[in-house]
């Protein structure tokens, strides 16, 4: 049913989604924390900026990323000048694109959860001798579990389905940048509907099982309000 290219694409997609989610958590968590606790005047602006990439159509966003990351673009040019390789048509490029595009889906749930946790438990942890990092990981994070679950599932699913950005900066290189969303798209465009159906169904089932597993696991947590 599936040709090796499709399988390749599936594996690549999972790699991309997983990498993206990890990076999003690493970047998004401190950002969300800052947004949840800051009283800075800049907060509103940063908050709005995070959500901004969403309003551009993904292909267009991808187009601008292409300009940005290309050898003549500011980022790509700098990379090349520093002896690096431009990011377009590489897995790393896909990751950058996916991260930019899925950032708000990770930051917003985390921010809301951190705000809901509030200062109370953190103050308690501090009086029990837990330092900043300690209480962040042992109190704030587990109490914000729901936010993390949302962040991970939305970030993951959105990256899997994400397509315009990846299409634009990926170059559709089998095994390197051809993710499953593009593969399905190709099948549809080529009027190869049967193939598209099979691949979509597989993706849906896989995603469904993953999501169920995550949500089911989540039931064990006692987060805020749980």
């Amino acid at each position: 049913m599936l040709n090796p290219g499709d399988l390749n694409a599936l594996v690549l997609t999972l790699q991309l989604a997983a990498t993206t989610v990890v990076i999003l958590l690493v970047l998004g968590t401190p950002l969300a924390w800052w947004l949840a606790h800051s009283r800075s005047r800049w907060r509103t602006l940063v908050e709005a900026t995070v959500a901004l990439p969403l309003v551009l159509p993904p292909t267009v966003l991808g187009f601008y990323l292409l300009l940005l990351l290309g050898p003549n673009g500011p980022v790509g040019g700098a990379l090349v000048a520093m002896g690096g390789a431009p990011l377009a048509f590489t897995f790393a490029g896909l990751v950058v694109g996916s991260v930019v595009y899925s950032l708000p889906f990770v930051v917003q749930p985390l921010q809301n959860s951190f705000a809901a946790v509030g200062h109370g438990p953190l103050e308690a942890a501090a009086t029990l001798g837990a330092g900043r990092r300690d209480r962040f990981f042992t109190v704030a994070v587990p109490l914000a579990a729901r936010g993390f679950i949302s962040a991970v599932t939305l970030g993951f699913a959105h990256t899997v389905g994400e397509f315009g950005v990846v299409l634009m900066i990926g170059g559709n290189i089998p095994g390197r940048t051809q993710v499953v969303s593009i593969a399905i798209y190709d099948h549809v465009e080529a009027l190869d509907y049967g193939h598209a159906h099979v691949l979509s169904a597989m993706l849906l089932v896989l995603a469904f099982l993953l999501l169920c597993a995550v949500y089911w696991g989540n039931r064990r947590f006692r987060g805020v309000g749980a």
């Binding site: 109370g120 438990p121 103050e123 308690a124 942890a125 501090a126 009086t127 029990l128 001798g129 837990a130 330092g131 900043r132 300690d134 209480r135 042992t138 109190v139 587990p142 109490l143 579990a145 947590f221 006692r222 987060g223 805020v224 749980a226």
Partner: protein, 354 residues
């Protein structure tokens, strides 16, 4: 260990200004009306608020904004039992206790002793949301003590705890605090708790300390708001002199007056404090006959604080064992002719160890 405070904190409509050095060890009770700043004061000491001023804990400056010194909460090793318990919702009771113990190195034996004492052994696997109000407070106390603090701040720790548990917890807490020489600040609205635990008393009102000093002195001052409480009364220093095993009574001396204490065994020579409620003290002009009032102090009326609107007055009687407070109706006072300088017998049926 000592605690020197000189802090000022502004809030809309509220201003905390405290400039006070608290005694080296033992319990200092903080007493005052709701909203007077007790919780805020504890938060300043713990490092949860950042007031202007200076806080010196055991000789270490933990906060001094003139010098830019700031020791963060977690490094102060200040144990704070919050008014609202603040158990971690994501951990079981056992998990909450473990959280503190892991970071302090407290042993399983310490934990088990606390579980036993606070009566929370059966709750270990419960989530905080599944506890009653009093259970939550007791778990919070255990958690704080397992963190092995160097200073203990208790914010109404027993307000939701019933008398039975309270009677078990208080003496133990008293002992623990004494053994560990833990300087402790105790916020409570319960004078019994104060008398039981505290050696010093801080009276607050409107963000300021209105009076502070040794508990025995503070309690016997008829001019303080304490004296206006129904449970007002003096605390005297006494010393064990004998024990009547058959009646399970200890004989004490309070100055030259023999004082009988039921239900306790006070070893000879041991210094203790006894509390005598003002409402329990009966005055007489001559030595009375056979009554069940065993304790008879001879003394001289020092002051009479009349509160005519209430038909009562508070009489301070100087004895050689210390100053006693007696609450009298104005009628009795008139009938007996109680005036400053008058020699009287003060009879207290009951004295209680504190």
């Amino acid at each position: 260990m000592s605690l020197a405070l000189s802090v000022a904190l502004e809030r809309p409509g509220f201003r905390l200004t405290v400039d006070q050095t608290l005694p080296a060890d033992g319990v200092t009770a903080v007493f005052g009306p709701s909203g007077c700043g007790k919780t805020t004061l504890l938060r300043c000491i713990a490092g949860l608020e950042r007031p202007r001023g200076r806080i010196v804990l055991d000789g270490h400056v933990v906060h001094d904004d003139a010098d830019g010194i700031w020791v963060p909460v977690e490094a102060r090793r200040v144990g704070l039992v919050f008014q609202d318990a603040r158990l971690f919702a994501h951990l079981s009771v056992a998990g909450n206790l473990r959280y503190a113990a892991r970071r302090s190195g407290a042993t399983a034996a310490e934990r088990d002793e606390l579980l036993e004492l606070l009566g929370i052994g059966a709750l270990l696997r419960r989530a905080p949301a599944e506890l009653s109000g009093g259970e939550r407070q007791r778990v919070a106390i255990a958690r704080t003590l397992l963190a092995r603090p160097r200073v203990l701040l208790l914010d109404e720790p027993l307000s939701a705890v019933d008398e039975g548990h309270r009677r078990e917890i208080l003496p133990w807490l008293e002992r623990a605090v004494a053994e560990l020489r833990l300087p402790t600040l105790l916020v409570t609205h319960n004078l019994d708790e104060v008398v039981r635990l505290a050696g010093h008393l801080l009276l607050m009102d409107g963000g300021r300390v209105t009076a502070g000093g040794r508990l025995t002195e503070m309690l016997a001052r008829p001019d303080l708001p304490l004296a206006r409480r129904e449970d007002a009364g003096a605390v005297l220093e006494a010393r064990g002199v004998g024990y009547d095993a058959r009646h399970h009574m200890s004989e004490l001396r309070c100055g030259s007056t023999p004082v009988w204490l039921a239900g306790e065994h006070v070893p000879e020579g041991r210094a203790v404090r006894v509390r005598i409620h003002a409402s329990d003290v009966t005055l007489a002009l001559e030595s009375p006959g056979a009554t069940s009032a065993l304790n008879r102090f001879q003394g001289v009326v020092e002051t009479v604080t009349a509160e005519p609107a209430e038909g009562r007055c508070l009489v301070a009687v100087a004895t050689d064992g210390g100053r006693l407070l007696a609450s009298l109706s104005s009628l009795s006072r008139e009938r007996l002719g109680i005036e400053p300088g008058r020699r009287v017998w003060a009879m207290a049926k009951t004295v209680a160890l504190v």
